[in-house]
Amino acid sequence: MKLKGAKKVINSHRIDKSSFKKIDGHFDTFRQLIVVNSSEDLLRYWYLCIDKKEISNDAKTTTNISSQLVLVSKIKSNNQLELIELCKASKYRNFLINEGNLIWIFSENRLYKISKETMTIQTILMPSRLIPFYNDCSGDSNLIWAWATDYGRFGKKQGLIIYRIDKNTNNIVSNSVFFEMPIEHLTFREEKYSDCTYLWLSCEISRQFQQPSGYFIPYLLRISKADLTTELLLIEPTFGEAIHTVMWNFFLRPLMWIKQ
């Protein structure tokens, strides 16, 4: 008898923007598709979807381990859908980047480069599972920036590797990022951002390894695109927030509880 892991169930729904009402399913026609990421350009909407029909007949139940990844394009003028089947979906998150004439899909250690005009797919193998930065700079058109955690030797000290992917030659250049302050343990969150000069990541840092999660301190990590120098910006609660929290705990939360 083998212990089986907990099964993951994804329930998909959409919310009407005008009325804020909930509607079951993501598409009216292809009910088995679950949107995991989306983007838009002038002519089309692009949705990266998981096809849950592959795994189970039960419409509500799916695991994203062996499901198929599908790129769906919707033409804005007539709402016509077009499906492109890609590969097995990653059990981690899949990312879609829409820039210029190309769609880039990050799934596991594979990168799919899809031409919007010819719909040809080019597969690029990546050194590890990369997470792209969403770009907010129209001038930075030749590179795609991505990051991965560097677990280091024996997984004890974590670091960061920044990858630069050349859009034309598909060349991937990696650089390890070093921190000026001594850091024992880092947890990077997937909240990331990129503007013309900096890459932004949020992270939590513990100075002592294997501390309980409460001891992690939140920082914003700012990396310069020019020379990959880092700066850590502490996000700490202000005095007013601390007073607000204590007041809530001390008076208001017990009062609410008694009122009910």
Binding site: L3, R14, D16, V35, K76, R189, L220, I235, T238, A242
Partner: protein
């Protein structure tokens, strides 16, 4: 003649000790629970960097100087017979409006902060589910809700 009530009646002395002990314990409990502060979401709107902190505050920093310009807190959400700060799952901007998706326990809420709203006002739309935003277009927000099933034997 003055009488020392603490000296003459040990019951009153005990009552005072218990009373002040309870007050000290309450203060300790009140100060001890501070929600873990972490960055839940980042969004850049024009020259401002919006950071959703897990204590329910949205902090607006200047993107260049990183100075805290403004902050506002999201309304608390009722969960498990009490009210708690919401955990922001994603933040997006549409036509200069800030749209915040947050959840607390099994509840999900959409907070809408229009550009013309007063600084501390936020519109709330509560939904009975715990889900996260995974896409949007001109008509809809697409959300997924992940339920973890029970572990079992094969």
């Amino acid at each position: 003649m003055k009488t020392n009530i603490f000296k003459n009646s040990p019951q009153i002395r005990w009552l005072f000790t218990i009373f002040f002990g309870c007050i000290i314990l309450l203060i300790c409990f009140g100060c001890a629970y501070v929600p873990s502060h972490r960055v839940d979401a980042i969004l850049k709107m024009q020259d401002d960097l919006y950071i959703a902190s897990s204590n329910g505050y949205i902090k607006i920093f200047d993107a260049q100087s990183h100075e805290l310009k403004k902050r506002f807190n999201l309304p608390t959400m009722r969960y498990s017979r009490s009210y708690w700060p919401p955990r922001v799952t994603s933040m997006i901007s549409e036509n200069d409006d800030l749209i915040i998706f947050a959840n607390q326990g099994t509840k999900n809420a959409i907070f809408l902060k229009r550009s013309e709203m007063p600084p501390k006002e936020v519109a709330t739309f509560e939904l009975m589910m715990s889900s996260f935003l995974c896409g949007k277009d001109h008509n809809y927000y697409y959300l997924n809700e992940i339920e973890r099933g029970q572990k079992g034997y094969k």
